[in-house]
């Protein structure tokens, strides 16, 4: 539309930290919408997509990945200075990702175990979320993010609206799509009641329990869910990998693991 042409297109940058690139790929995965997106924003920095890399400042920065090295801890400060709005994308950026498993282990042991010359490696003992380091404006959850949610958030930002990011549980979305509760009807351990919406409630629709890849929902009651699942026969050996995967470092899930251990 002419209205949009008159405005200066917002400058978009995509930055990667410790991550698998899957969330950035979700943007490239929007094949049908990609040209429209490219018309809405000026893609100034997106190394995964283009070798054209322009200096900041940027209007919108999509940040993928967690902070795991001293260098990245500094680099995210620079990103913050260059960007008006920071949107973190994915579980690594919002909660530390699967690599935060190191937070409960010996960093030194891992280095010795994995690298022939650990002295060449400069990494931090923890993997932490972007919001632990700089102010974050919006967080898109998920491993990976939901591309529809990513597109809708981008659209909202471009048109000057606050992105709509519902914080309710996965259960609400299961019910909206007619999925029968897998926990109640089949006894399948499911984190849906404490997990943040946004995925579209995919796993329970395929007779699988939610494994919390969108992280904790707002004001989730993890203790009650742990008690519920334990009394339905779920063992701590089954619960631990559910609570401690892509969002294991999210404070609510950490507290849930502590509570779970206290119960047994």
């Amino acid at each position: 539309m002419a209205v949009n042409d008159l405005k200066k297109r917002p400058r978009l940058a995509v930055f990667k930290f410790a991550s698998c690139d899957g969330c950035q790929l979700s943007l490239l995965d929007c094949e049908d919408e990609l040209l429209t997106v490219a018309g809405l924003v000026d893609i100034a920095m997106f190394p995964e997509a283009s070798s054209r890399m322009e200096a900041g400042p940027y209007d919108i920065a999509l940040v993928e990945g967690s902070i795991t090295t001293p260098h990245d801890a500094q680099r995210i400060q620079d990103v913050r200075k260059q960007a008006t709005t920071i949107v973190t994308i994915g579980a690594c950026a919002t909660a530390g990702g699967i690599q935060s498993l190191r937070n409960w282990a010996s960093h030194e042991d891992y280095l010795r175990c994995v690298y022939a010359k650990p002295e060449y490696i400069s990494s931090l003992a923890t993997s932490t979320a972007i919001a632990d380091h700089v102010r974050v404006d919006y967080e898109l959850r998920g491993c990976p993010v939901n591309r529809h949610q990513l597109l809708s958030a981008l659209t909202d930002l471009v048109h000057g609206r606050k992105p709509r990011l519902p914080a309710h549980s996965v259960c609400l979305d299961c019910k909206r799509r007619g999925t029968v509760c897998v926990e109640v009807a089949q006894g399948i351990p499911c984190l849906g009641p404490v997990t943040h919406a946004g995925c579209g409630a995919i796993c329970p629709a395929f007779d699988r329990g939610c494994y919390g890849c969108f992280g904790p929902a707002a004001q989730c009651n993890c203790n009650s869910l742990v008690t519920t699942l334990q009394s339905a026969g779920t063992t701590n050996d089954q619960l631990l990998p559910l609570l401690r995967n892509f969002n294991g470092a999210a404070p609510e899930f950490q507290a849930a693991v502590q509570f779970m251990n206290e119960q047994s």
Binding site: L151, C181, A185
Partner: protein, 384 residues
Amino acid sequence: MSHHTSIQPADVSVAGLLRTDDLQQLIDALIAAGYDVIGPKIDQCAIVYDQITSVNQLPRGWTDLQEPGRYRLQQSDDSKYFGFAVGPHSWKKYLFPPQSIVSTATRTENGWQFSTDAPPAPRLAFLGVRACELAAIEIQDRVFLHGPWVDPIYKSRRDAVLIVAVNCTSAASTCFCSSTNTGPRCRSGFDLALTEIAGGFVIETGSESGRAIAARLPLESVTEHHHAEASSARAQAEAMMTRKLRTDDLHDLLLGNLKHPHWDDVATRCLSCTNCTMVCPTCFCSTVTDVSDLTNDHVQRERKWDSCFNIDFSYMNGSPVRNSIASRYRQWLTHKLASWQDQFGTLGCVGCGRCITWCPPGIDLTEEVVKLRDAVHANSEDPS
């Protein structure tokens, strides 16, 4: 046809006996009358409501074991077509769909063009509506049709529905419709009603449309023996119902104890996950959002089921009004059982027990009311 005024029991009369082997003829007659038939069938390890065309899709010989936080299908020792209670779905998914488009807007050379055109409502025949569900439909009719604002989506769908009720002949452990005076006998609000007995179904009609369908069926006359059998089958449902809810004091008990510590006790167990409100056949809350495409040239106003357990639901002026699980549970229970009476003149609960079964931690509203009542009375008797 319109069902907006509840059909008086005086209109209800026994039409005849349909042999078990002739049940398919009922489905065929409904289809021939232009309806898509929605009935119970087994899917996702539960008895859900979905489109059916054949009696072979009905969960014949299956029943449901229900308890707080647990639902399991089990083969029963008889071959009844309707030997189970209500499941995770309710008919509201057809009358008040989980997602619908309220209106659309398109930017053109001449400005915005708005439209509220809705697709025509499907003509649906609900097969197997239980007494508690008839009561729930009547409650939603009151909410969507009988207030100052008539909901056009609900109205068009409601007008296109034909209801074939089924009298319960058994009850789940979570059922308590005798307490809410909404069952188990289907007394009004249906076009046809069935009572399943050995060898067939005693068929009652409750409307002109029901009588027209019944006229197409190979009905036999109902003998004294059939009547007695139907009546004892219905009595069995009543006898199996063990759960109770005392209703006479609910309004003042709940609204008079808004600061009672028991709400915090429930909040330690409540997941605030929304499951109870989603499975409730009377809960009617929704959220309406304007959704644009990338170009901002096409916008649709979408309505989705929402819940008072969703923290965003009470968000206003920068923060949520009900910012704790205790306040959200209290909102739900006090509305359902107390302020609903002020608002609509009845309880908002029909005793179907879905919120008990489908709550993962198994929070039972009938028990929570007892605990609150006991705590309040114990406190008032305490001389200190």
